[in-house]
Symmetry: C2
Subunit: 678 residues, 2 copies
């Protein structure tokens, strides 16, 4: 009898120990039960590829009561939303659309997986945004701009004939969290994307994604008519150009009747655009919008524009776009990065939000961690996303949060959308860092319901991805929730920004001053450290970027006494001996912030090491290895920034703080061999 | 008035800030006073080059009362010692020899420099050892075996014509701490050292050193008669060989009448020796001793012999030499490394001490930090030297310390000596690391008086080298005094030894297992980690090296319960879960020791950073930079050893301990580009 028990224990342990666990399953780990419910316990009158998927998921993974899937037109106000009502005998999921039913099925599977009560459900879900879209910055040659999880998932050379099984796995993962749209290619777009042969490849993906409720979009190069069509130019007011786009739209919609539309990066960082012909962004966007309108397509026009002028880079998008307010077509939406610079660890929110009163606005987040340690650092981004969405712009008085502006509740919008740059590649675990899966997950969940808290999302994700065991759940959740602030601390505390090493944006280079290059690509442009202090004066005495914010924020940010300390150096050039709220000087505060960042990462290492008993060895080891790198990098950041800024402050680093282990001159010599492609 | 004061302050600060301070002055920083005592206040009847130096030092640096230098034959029992008696009007230094008077002068200058009372002195000093000798492992091509302070001081190509001013500076530094002998060349000796042209170069150095009381010795290659003299062999019983040595001795003493003698490494690590001809070490040593005897020369014959046999390396010198006890000439002294392996951070003392009852024995220490972080780590060695000297061998009952055995108090010895491998090179600061100067200083001071404590010596050295300011003195002294134990902690705690990377002996390589090479040059030979435990079983169940120790040490060391824990893994193979005295398991203790080492180095960094106000910027910055390297290296050691040993223990590293930042597999790939020459 004793022996028999041992056998059972060994048998139960085997799966944890022996089976490789690459992380390829993401959060989709519903136990594959042979004794799941039988097909006759799934009640559904209609037939449809999306419903077939929903039923298959239930048959494979649902272990509970009978499920009825009801298509109900009366629920169309919920858009792609659904209701779930249950007793212990039966669950009824109702939705106006089949995609809503599929989302409802993933909802109950999630409840089952996270061990929630499923017997007395009365749920109504309506998505926060109509378009919940991932932007892939994937190039046609398979590289990814700012991609840290291997090459592109899209095998353009193999398409349209050879189809990777991962296309459908990708679509399923998106559907499971409510993502319904994808831009397949880089915003720095190749004109070739619109070639007929490529469109035929795109059609294959669109057909694969459609049953999962996902529409395909493309980034387009504004010069396509000239480069691809051989026209004399790409002037949006040129009839030939307009005709070319009209024909191209027609060609696309013949292949892909539900094609979503275009994403356009124009007149930004060297990309062509309407200004090349003396036209405005509105001229360019509207021309395209007119061509897509008959088919229901939309144009997402990016506001990420700046030029090497004397004007503060952080002000330029606002200056460019506010005068165009009201001039855009209904099916144009302006896609605005969360901050006015570029996906920094922390930025003030972008003042364009709320400032375009008659124009649809959408947020662009970055899930791929270009500026947040890439595939090496554990940084859970939901708190960053939430910080932007919850920011009150005061555009229409108190409570004018970015979420309310963009989701259509503050001003009735015909079109609501939210986007983020994907972190997905061909790596077996999809995202490079296992915890980066949580950022894909979090974006999807917030796009569906921006009222979810970071903690709720982390809780769900951990339970689905690893285990429900509280001994794992609680410490790991705590680590995740503090991780973004930790990264800010060891990289760029107190509102510092863009002091990354050039091109790759991985490590620190606060001394970066690229002579002959664009000043606004140099770190020294952003921190402005000198003998007196540090920080970018964006008050009235400086660039006056504060004036782009609605009252009272312009005053709050503009006054050093009321400016939030976590944005202090974003808005102010602050003396080294300035007294912070905790009584420390600015210099001391800066030192302690960096040190705190380092200490926290070391604590994460301890936290994670203690998790070894609760999960599989492979994922444990992978995260452990990444945390080691993060710990070393945090010290690198701390030493580089403090030793460099010390050359200006001339002040002692407080002795409570761990001393540096690097020489500034050695750190300056580090040149990482990293492109900005993977 | 206020302005005037500012000027004074600025003037006083200038020397600290502006004047480069390379450390070239060592501890010889007597302020060069123009208003020192005049020549007529120095009373001395005799004339002699050594006395001239003594007088010059007084004239340049002495600011006190009249000094009388008396040569008194009656004091010959003090050998090179002296007496100092003083009132407020006059100081009388008396000695049998002029060198004793010079030492006495350095004594009062040291008192003046360290701000001691000089008005009521009644001092009698007698050196602990007759021969206080530095072994230079300098090669004729200018490289130094285990040299970390640049190339050799000796410019053989320039000699005998061109004379570096540093030769005399070197002699003065040695005289100031009582060193009276130097072996100029590497124990792995080139036969060319005895070529006539080289001897003429040696003569120049001998002539320069003589006034400072320093005799010159040479390491000789046992094959010299064959290689240099063209004889058929170098068999010590061969009459032609004997004749060759006799003539060589005659030639040497004609050039250098006070030549000290030979140092010989024979039949060790590939060096030739008498065993090549079936003769014993005694045969070889005695033959040479006979040739030197007429001139008063001595032979220092090294006991550092071991061969790749199955016998524990730690036992071999004892097995080789004990049977020869009593067979050596009077002017032969056996030079024995402090431990039976090789200058490890910590070893049990060498069991040969006391075991040779009828043979003179001397210690060989290593000042150059071959195994102690070389020129990067701050490790004050006086505690290591003292640990050996104070070790009780019990050879003649309780109290038979190595110091008493070697200084002639326990057994009347005709010849007493103490040696150490020098850490001196052509670097401007002489020793690579500024704090390595303290190790040269400490060896000299202990050779003069082995009863000095490590703290007394550190106190003197700090005051002379840096400042008397207690704010500097006390923390720096504390750092120095704990530094050797700290290095043991982060390198090889609990009796671990020789787990260094091959050839260069700088970093960790516990996994080192040099297939095809000598097993006893592989780290795995020494730590013997396996699934059961770690450590070298030298008890009766193992190599029984404990049997080479006198009772009760053989039992104390041989019993795991009584063996000192700091030598536990030297003598025992200990189970991972063995309970240590503090209640921790062996594995936990090992982890905490490594962690303590790391933490202590980080504390040294803090300590040193706080010292910035008290000393010059250049020396401050140099030591600061070295401590950064040491801190990184300590983490490297900790990670390498714990991650590697963990592959055997399969135990968790206690969570209180900072997690590793390295991957074992990456650490294994590190190959430092370092030879064992500088």
């Amino acid at each position: 009898m004793h022996n028999f028990r041992s056998y059972i224990v060994i048998f139960l342990l085997f799966p944890l120990i022996l089976f490789a666990e690459s992380g390829s399953k993401l959060w989709l780990r519903f136990p594959n039960v042979k004794n799941g419910i039988s097909a006759d316990k799934i009640i559904s009158k209609s037939k449809n590829p999306t419903l077939e998927i929903a039923k298959k998921e239930l048959m494979n993974y649902w272990r509970g009561q009978t499920v009825e899937l009801r298509t109900e037109k009366s629920l169309k106000n919920l858009k792609e939303g659904y209701t779930i009502k249950s007793s212990s005998e039966k669950i009824i999921i109702s939705a106006a659309k089949e995609s809503g039913l599929l989302y409802g099925v993933y909802h109950i599977l999630r409840l089952q997986q996270t061990k929630a009560d499923i017997n007395n459900l009365n749920i109504t879900e309506k998505p926060s945004y109509d378009v919940r879209i991932l932007n892939h910055w994937d190039n046609l040659d398979g590289t990814i701009e700012r991609g840290y999880a291997g090459h592109s998932l899209w095998k353009w050379e193999d398409l349209p004939n050879k189809i990777s099984p991962r296309y459908e796995e990708y679509a399923r993962a998106n559907a499971s969290i409510g993502i319904n749209s994808v831009v397949l290619n880089n915003v720095n777009a190749s004109p070739n994307m619109l070639r007929t042969d490529y469109l035929q490849k795109v059609k294959v993906l669109a057909d694969l994604f459609r049953p999962y409720g996902i529409k395909v979009y493309l980034s387009v190069n504004f010069s396509s008519p000239k480069v691809l069509g051989g026209l004399e130019n790409s002037d949006p007011l040129n009839k030939n150009v307009q005709q070319w786009w009209k024909e191209k739209a027609s060609e696309i919609y013949k292949l892909i009747p539900d094609f979503g539309g275009f994403l356009v990066k124009a007149n930004s960082e060297g990309q062509p655009g309407p200004q090349d012909y003396g036209r405005t962004h509105a001229d360019g966007a509207n021309m395209m919008a007119d061509m897509l309108k008959p088919y229901g397509g939309i144009v997402m026009w990016r506001a990420f524009v700046y030029s090497p002028s004397k004007e503060d880079r952080a002000k330029q998008a606002y200056l460019e776009f506010v005068p165009l307010d009201g001039k855009f077509r209904d099916n144009v939406i302006i896609q605005i990065k969360n901050g006015p610079v570029d996906f920094q660890p922390r930025e003030a929110f972008n003042p364009l939000f709320g400032a375009l009163k008659k124009t649809s606005e959408m947020v662009e987040f970055q899930i791929t961690q270009e500026y947040l340690g890439q595939n090496n650092h554990l940084v859970y981004l939901a708190p960053l996303f939430k910080e932007t969405l919850d920011s009150d712009t005061y555009s229409d008085g108190k409570g004018s949060t970015i979420s309310k502006i963009t989701d259509g509740t503050l001003r009735h919008a015909k079109l609501t959308a939210i986007s983020a740059v994907a972190n997905i590649g061909e790596d077996e675990n999809w995202t490079g860092h296992l915890f980066a899966q949580a950022n894909w997950y979090a974006f999807g969940r917030l796009a569906w319901n921006h009222e979810l808290t970071s903690e709720q999302i982390a809780d769900e994700w951990i339970k689905m991805t690893f285990t429900n065991d509280k001994n794992f759940l609680n410490p790991v959740k705590e680590m995740m929730l503090s991780s973004r602030e930790t990264a800010v601390d060891y990289m760029m505390p107190l509102g510092l920004h863009h002091i990354f090493a050039g091109t790759h944006h991985y490590g620190p280079e606060p001394w970066g001053d690229y002579k002959g290059g664009r000043p606004d690509w140099s770190p020294v442009y952003y921190h402005k450290a000198d003998a007196n202090g540090i920080g970018f004066d964006r008050t009235k005495t400086g660039s006056n970027a504060v004036s782009q914010y609605f009252p009272p924020l312009n005053e709050t940010y503009g006054n050093i006494k009321t400016c939030p300390e976590n944005l202090l150096l974003w808005f102010h050039h602050v003396p080294w001996d300035y007294q912070m709220k905790d009584g420390k000087t600015l210099w001391e505060e800066l030192c302690f912030k960096y040190d705190t960042g380092v200490k926290n990462v070391r604590e994460y290492q301890k936290t994670w090491d203690k998790m070894q008993p609760y999960i599989d060895e492979q994922r444990f080891a992978e995260v452990q290895a990444k945390l080691k790198i993060q710990a070393k990098d945090a010290v690198w950041w701390k030493d580089a920034c403090l030793l460099y800024f010390q050359t200006f402050s001339k002040l002692t680093i407080p002795y409570e703080i761990e001393r540096s282990v690097h020489e500034l001159e050695d750190l300056k010599k580090i040149k990482l061999n990293m492109g900005h492609h993977n």
